[in-house]
């Protein structure tokens, strides 16, 4: 008698659909939560515009989308430090006009994050010291192509190569929206796949400087501290996230984790 009477080998070829593990491959809790947030972000756009304030449209991929390779990008309409209004979805590889974050010194990329020459190839646009480089058509196309290539590596589970590709992009387009997205993606791979929370923490902290993605980066910082076993630092990062982004999609998740930390749950 087979050990599991519900397995197909017991006589049924296929079992009725359920929520149990399989046949879809297992995902981490973080990947599942990122997938949920990506669906909601795409299906239920939020529009919040302050009257009289100039809107800067910042096209970007949510780091979770970049990391999970999901197709879909969001155009983010930005209010200073009050959260982000998602306006309308655009295809993943149509990274278009970007404007720079308000204060974005070049994010430091860990030396371990890439072993490739960070200088751009001759055919690429010069490293973006400002938005103008990122906005030129050849630079935009190059950033989009590189992001697409990195996403493809990630889909193929070539984690180290994908991480290097994202990190190179982050370095080349430092200060731009594309660079920040790439930094977040590199950080996520470092943490989830390469099991290097310290390296990931450096990348997330560098991405914090880009206001458009600081919510995701803040959550990433907390996740790194969790992986490192530093509950106090994790709690501090979560409180900072809630204080600076009270309306973010991550609010419930952060509150839930803070409650667990307070209760002593691992």
């Amino acid at each position: 008698m087979p050990a599991n009477p519900d397995s197909p080998s017991h006589g049924e070829l296929l079992s009725a659909l359920d929520d149990r593990e399989g046949p879809a491959r297992r995902l981490s809790e973080q990947e599942l939560e990122a997938a949920v947030e990506a669906v909601v972000g795409r299906a239920l756009p939020v529009r919040r515009v302050r009257h009289g304030q100039r809107r800067a449209a910042i096209p970007l991929l949510l780091a979770s989308l970049a990391v999970t390779g999901l197709a879909g990008a969001l155009v983010i309409s930005r209010r200073p430090w009050a959260g982000f209004a998602v306006t309308t979805p655009v295809p993943a590889d149509a990274i278009t006009r970007s404007s720079p974050p308000r204060s974005a010194p070049a994010p430091r990329v860990s030396e371990r994050a890439t072993d490739t020459d960070p200088r751009p190839a001759p055919s690429d646009a010069p490293v973006a010291s400002s938005s103008s480089a990122a906005e030129r058509p050849s630079a935009r196309e190059s950033a989009a192509d590189q992001l697409k290539a990195a996403n493809q590596l990630r889909r193929q589970a070539r984690w180290a190569e994908a991480e290097r590709a994202y990190a190179k992009l982050a370095s080349q387009f430092a200060g731009s929206a594309q660079g920040s997205v790439a930094a977040l993606a590199a950080a996520s791979l470092r943490l989830e796949q390469l099991k290097d929370p310290r390296g990931a923490l450096r990348l997330y902290q560098s991405a914090l400087r880009a206001p458009a993605l600081s919510a995701e980066a803040g959550l990433g910082v907390a996740s790194c501290h969790r992986a490192l076993g530093d509950r106090a630092a994790e709690a501090a990062a979560l409180r900072r996230l809630l204080a600076t982004h009270p309306d973010s999609l991550f609010r419930e998740r952060a509150e839930r984790r803070l409650a667990a930390l307070a209760a002593g749950t691992p």
Binding site: N4, S9, L13, A16, E21, G22, R25, A71
Partner: protein, 189 residues
């Protein structure tokens, strides 16, 4: 205190209503409740793991956007299953030629060393076998055995005659049994 994220299962009526009204937290709970089931269904329907998350996202976006048409005549999960299946078929239709070439080029299955005791591994093995079947047989098998649709329902859904569905099921079952036979034989003995 109400649970923020329910365990996988049937979303609550309250969350359905709130999602229709644009409540994003409710939408997140609804999607989280459906996600494991939807991921499994998509993996049953499409070949390989690579595109599953993309198709799942497409399908769940379709579920959320189409929530207004859910009439509560059956469970939300059952209604969502149909939406997901149609989204997966639409995706496959766009890539039909590419997928057919890939199926034709499939390499033989590696030997199965599992003992069937691990349900996850058994299910993974089953979809490896499904990955080598032609679309039509695969879909008939999944709609019938996984979604428990009747042959007439499948005929209507896929717009083919009832006899064609029966034939696809017959041939598909035979191929699956042949592919899974070594493991089954070992277990029986």
């Amino acid at each position: 205190m109400p649970t923020r994220r329910p365990s996988p299962g049937e979303p609550s009526h309250e969350d359905v209503q709130a999602t229709r009204a644009g409540d994003r937290a409710a939408a997140a709970r609804l999607v989280a409740a459906l996600m494991p089931r939807v991921r499994n269904l998509v993996r049953y329907l499409i070949r390989g793991d690579r595109e599953v998350e993309d198709v799942v996202q497409e399908a769940l976006v379709a579920v959320l956007r189409g929530l207004g048409s859910y009439r509560a005549e059956g469970t939300l999960r059952s209604w969502a299953d149909r939406v997901v299946a149609r989204a997966a078929f639409a995706w496959l239709e766009r890539r039909r030629a590419q997928e057919q070439r890939a199926i034709a080029a499939s390499e033989p299955l590696p030997d199965w060393n599992g003992d069937g005791a691990d349900e996850y591994l058994s299910r993974r093995r089953v979809v490896e076998v499904l990955d080598r079947l032609p679309f039509e047989q695969r879909h008939a098998l999944v709609l019938h055995h996984v979604l428990e649709m009747s042959v007439p329902e499948i005929a209507e859904e896929t717009r083919v005659p009832v006899e064609t569905v029966r034939s696809r099921l017959r041939v598909g079952r035979l191929k699956m049994r042949e592919a899974l036979a070594p493991a089954t034989t070992q277990k029986v003995s």
